[in-house]
């Protein structure tokens, strides 16, 4: 279990804190989505959690232990996929994984197998500097999972990927969760978060504004509405009806009685809409 308590962080020479009193808990084997627009403080929180930034105020506990309790051996249990690809560009894809894998004190997944998993098997002997942005992103992701981490930090893992490849990465993330890994997913992609996360937290201007499962957030902050498509005078018409309003419920009954209804769709809110409702700004 990961516990983050009242985290506050101010960058040197900054006028105000980038992170202001953030607290949350992540259960073992959970995918925890950390959603917010650029500059909201997502990466700062991730960097604090992996010790790249020093903890100024508050605490971060992994099964009750701080990072300094665990020292560098903590990183044997951790995988980190950065938003911006950070590879040895003069090395090939397979060399990047092989040498990085040698730094761990535990067995790692063979580089060839990893490259096949992320669809880079054919480009394994190509220098990373010659990879496209999407290929670099996949290589960084492969590097993050190579030590079968107990805790996986993923910063925008599907950014810049085509839909097919993004789907493949999402499937691997879900498999990692099923394996038992706890996953901290930082993103501003609400669809990816909705699809993957067991729980999400919204961060805006360094503060948490909401935290719950995507379903609960949508139910709590969205409106229960139904989109009805029906035929009238030979034309297809549609109406949005809110089930909490008496007149809309009556109207729905009327339409169903006429037998002209062709489709019915529930109109729950998206995570983006919830975020906008809570903060007054979009995620992108």
């Amino acid at each position: 279990m990961i516990e983050v308590n009242d985290l506050i962080f101010t960058y040197p020479r900054a006028h105000r804190p980038a992170v202001r009193g953030i607290s949350f808990r992540i259960e073992r084997g959970q995918i925890f989505g950390f959603l917010g627009p650029s500059g909201a403080g997502k990466s700062t929180v991730q960097n604090l959690m992996i010790g790249l930034l020093p903890t100024q105020k508050g605490s971060i506990l992994y099964d009750g232990k701080t990072l300094s309790d665990m020292g560098k051996s903590f990183f044997n249990r951790v995988g980190v996929s950065f938003e911006h690809p950070n590879l040895y560009e003069k090395l090939t894809g397979i060399e990047n994984l092989r040498y990085y894998g040698g730094l761990f004190d535990r067995p790692v997944i063979p580089p060839e197998q990893l490259l096949d998993m992320v669809g880079l098997g054919e480009a394994k002997n190509k220098r990373a500097g010659a990879y496209s942005k999407g290929m670099k992103q996949r290589l960084v992701f492969a590097r993050a999972i190579m030590n079968r981490p107990d805790i996986l930090f993923l910063d925008e893992p599907t950014s810049g990927l085509d839909p097919g490849t993004a789907q493949r990465i999402k499937e691997i993330i879900l498999k990692e969760r099923d394996r038992g890994a706890t996953i901290f997913l930082t993103t501003h992609n609400m669809f990816a978060a909705d699809e993957l996360c067991d729980e999400v937290a919204f961060i805006n201007e360094g503060q948490l504004v909401a935290q719950d499962s995507p379903r609960n957030l949508k139910l709590k902050y969205g409106q229960k509405a139904i989109k009805v498509e029906y035929r009238s005078n030979g034309q297809i018409k549609s109406e949005i009806l809110f089930v909490e309003r008496d007149e809309d419920r009556h109207r729905l009954g009327q339409l169903l009685d006429t037998g002209t209804v062709e489709t019915l769709h529930s109109q729950e809110a998206t995570l983006e809409q919830v975020f906008v409702k809570l903060t007054g700004r979009g995620l992108s």
Partner: protein, 349 residues
Amino acid sequence: MTATRGFYSLLKQDLVVAQRNGFFLVVLCLAVIFAILVRFVIPAEVKVTAREYVVDLTEGQVISDLLVRKGLADILLPSEEELLSLMQEDRNTLGIVFQGSREKPGAVIHYQGYEPKKALAALSAAVSSLWNEAGALGRPSFSTPVLLRPESSKLPFNLSMIPLLMVTEVVFLGFLFVAVMVFQEKAEGSIRAYRVSPRGTWTYILSKSVTNVILALCYGLLIFLPTIGPTSNLIAVLPLIILASFLMTVAGLSISVFFDSLSDFIYAALPIFVLFCLPVASYFFPAFKMPVFELIPSYPLMFGIREILFPTGKAGFYAPMLLRLAAESAVVLLVAGWAVNRNLLKEVQ
């Protein structure tokens, strides 16, 4: 055991990156060029002062006999006219015309006019000494040279350049190579990946140092073998190269981590390079030496390699020199550990 495995993995990576960056090629090319220069271009003897010519007008040509016996027949000219003509053509010449006899020795020195007084006084003393050797009467010898240790054979000028060429790689390139590696990792962001690996500061420093030491040893052997051959003294040179290279790598690391690019770093590196060059002046002009020079790594490297490869009989210098380099390395290593941990392995200081 696992830490050792981690170190070897990082070292292999650094060696491959160094090879792909062309570091080994640079070292190979420099070594080949310098070896060719030493063997075929730089002369074995270089005279930096004016060349002296002698005309012997003495009775019985006693000076000529003496010079021929000393193997200096080539400086003899047949007449004073020829000497003056030669001096007109070549402004870097001096002439001595020996006259008289053993009973009444004499000499005239012709000079250009811009020679230092000390050089002329030395020449005058040499003329006097030569007459003494030729058996001039009534000129008793007033000085007896005493050598501190057995006289060694004179080191050919081209071979005397070898220690200096070693400094080029070990000190200057070693310092630059490690900085280039640091800036490359910063620019690529690959250092961020290392930050979240189980390995730490000392593994990082050790890997970079060993990479540079290997480069320095390759360079050293590529220079030594074609110039002086596989002598047993080479074994004694290797610890010196290893320590000096290690020292320069950790020094380069200590400084480069404070900068983001080579263009920024070069302003800090230039004064350091000038400092490291000072002992080079002592190498050519032994009088230009201050005690502090001995603390500059290029000093023990140059003078140590020269004494090991071309011994003059100086005893007891080797172990203290290595110990001093080791002590300096230990101090700079601690500084590098602090600097790397603070400025390279953390996102924010």
